[in-house]
Amino acid sequence: MAEGLEVASGPGAAAPRLDMRDVHKRFGATVALAGVSLTVESGEVHALVGENGAGKSTLMKVLSGAHPADRGTMRLDGRDYRPRNPLDARQAGVAMIYQELSLAGHLTVEENILLGMEPHTLGLIHRREVRRKALEAIRYFEHPEIRPDVPVGRLTVAAQQLVEVARALAVGCRVLVLDEPTSSLTRQDVERLFALIQRLKDQGHAIVYISHFIEEVKRVADRVTVLRDGKSVGVGEASDLTIEQIVSMMVGRTVQDLYPRSPRTRGEAVLEVQGLAGIDKPVSASFALHRGEVLGIAGLVGAGRTELLRTLFGLMPVRSGTVRIGAYYGPASPTRRWAQGAGILSEDRKEEGLALSMSVADNMTLSKLKGFGPLGLVLPGRQAAAARRWVDRLDIRCRGPRQRLLDLSGGNQQKVAVARMLQHDVDILLLDEPTRGIDVAAKATLYKLIDELTCGADGREPKAVLMVSSYLPELLGVCDRIAVMCRGRLGPARNAADVTEKDLMLEATGHGDAA
């Protein structure tokens, strides 16, 4: 099995490592894949891009044996490949690394790497052999903290990801699929991951790289396949394609007016923060948020942006500093903040933002169950009527307000979370990564909505928006002012028109001029 580390790479080999042709898959009436072809050579990094719902995850499920294909052929090194289940696929040499890692946190690195294939005699594990194989699998990683005897739960996310890669290599994988591998990594870790991918490539592994970040794809991939509406609509050399070309292939139209911008008038300061510090992060943050503006907060993952919003909202304790919302000072709690006219959108939609087993209507009205009946009663009919208004307004695709959120797509779920703030009619919207993991159409709806809210469309009073995002083009497109957070400290807010992506990135990594 350890031989799997040295996969025979054959520049002269005739058949590609992985060859998927015209794969079809439908679920009931829904066509998920309508003819996808994907060819990956050994020693190649092949990127797969597409909007949410374009069929990426279905394709990967077919590849990994979770679903059988209805039609089409798959070949692995020229031989027919028809996995009956994920285990079958793994044994054939197709390994998937998902966004949500699947490691046993209490077990050590080496136990995880060899889980399910421990060398043993009559159930007794050969510990030395385990150690040797584990060391062999992790020797490529420039992460000194990954020692074979450390419990995986104590490692950083980046290191855990590498352990998962090591596990894939230890079973002798021929095709390695990475699904959004950088979404939860810091900048440095992304660099180290890219270096690792380069090395694996040089050893002749075939890598399928799925990502939302087109910039990344251009850097790391040799070729790109674009999926749209369940079809592969284009494939090309990554170096030949521009970002604009890739994006317009993804959306099937040119991206114009993605970030609408109506004239906005800046009003009074509704949220003023002076020297705010939390227990660990933020270290210090001062700013003022005005009506009729969008203030963006840029920074790296782990810089303390989420913690800033949570501290403001009373979800994390305050160490020092003052916060004024409207006329209110004093201790914060989520209950008080909602009452003071502020609302928050959590970055973690599934775990915190929404109660997925409850209905659309319940989720939209949870923060304010008032005005739905006499005597403080909550009449489900009126609740549903209120929710239906937002379903129509935000174009939320669902069977009705009583449908459970579980069956909705990510973009529609996110719209429900945003609708909660609109239903509550808050003045201050704290948005934490509002467009994470949602498709371009849903993003466009949100950008348009944010613009309408801040410019005070249909005679309503303009609202104030504080928006955290890791996607710089989005911040530059949506915000009026942008401040950068670096290691828990929030820098000064500057006009979005005066800064570039490069400025922001430099400042976020601690190399900005202190201006």
Partner: protein, 331 residues
Amino acid sequence: MSAEPLEDLPAAARANWLQWVNRLGPVLALAVVYGAFAAKSPRMFSLAAVETITIQTVIVGTAAVGMTLVIISGGIDLSVGSMIAISSVAGAYLLVKLGVSPFVGVCGAVLAGAVCGLFNGLIITRARVVPFIVTLGTLLVVRGAAKGLAQSAPINIDSQWITGFVQTLGDGERWKLLPPGGWMMILLAALFWALLRYTRLGRHTYAIGSNEQTARLCGVAVERVKLWIYGLSGACAGLSGVMLLSRQGQGDPTGAMGYELDVIAAVVIGGGSLSGGEGSIVGSIVGALIMTVIRTGCNLQGLQPWVTQIVTGAIIVVAVALDRLRHRRAT
């Protein structure tokens, strides 16, 4: 309530239909079990049998109403049996040792249960210990307190009013259909059904069970809601204690031993999910009825108690397994 909106998609119609089957699942199960036993011994079909079944369901059913709230919120209460016992002792103590009127005695018993429930709630929310452990502890604490209060001997009462709650009706009272205790359980169930469906407390209970973090993010006062939940559950256990007092004619500190398992089983058979967010009052009452029907039916068949026990246990597991299977289909 306003009219149900029309959703014109065929998928919606199918989903609604499935939802109805899901909701009616426990009722269907009850009908099947009842029908099966009645086919064997026609005596099960008589009004007298229905009355007996009700009488024997009242104690567990009343407590199950409160437990439904707890389980929907994602919690658990293992101390219910002990709370039933201490409430019956408290009621008897008030009546006999302090000589209060029966009505005050009943109120006192309910209050005793509510206090125990609040105590559970306080530890769970303040000390942030998981409900399973807290109530495992109070199971012993409350049981001990009941024994201490009663000085380890049952306290006999002679209030005709109270003992009449769960007695077979005399010939002159047939028009009542069920003994007062049965009607009290039904009224309580109706109240709690409305509470869950039409009040903020009810919605917040579901929200906490579905995703506590979301509830907190949305400004739900999670701690306060939990206090209410455990307090109300305790009050239900208190009323259940009154039924025990009525049934036995004495406040028995060793009574209702192990009832917590029956109560939890009733909720779970009725569609409650131990991971929270799901459960219904009607389901829980039906769950309690199913268990009584099995016991009564087995008795009428002349089966040994050990057989009854095995059958009950098996039915619990089968009922819940079927329920989960249905759920997987529905989603």
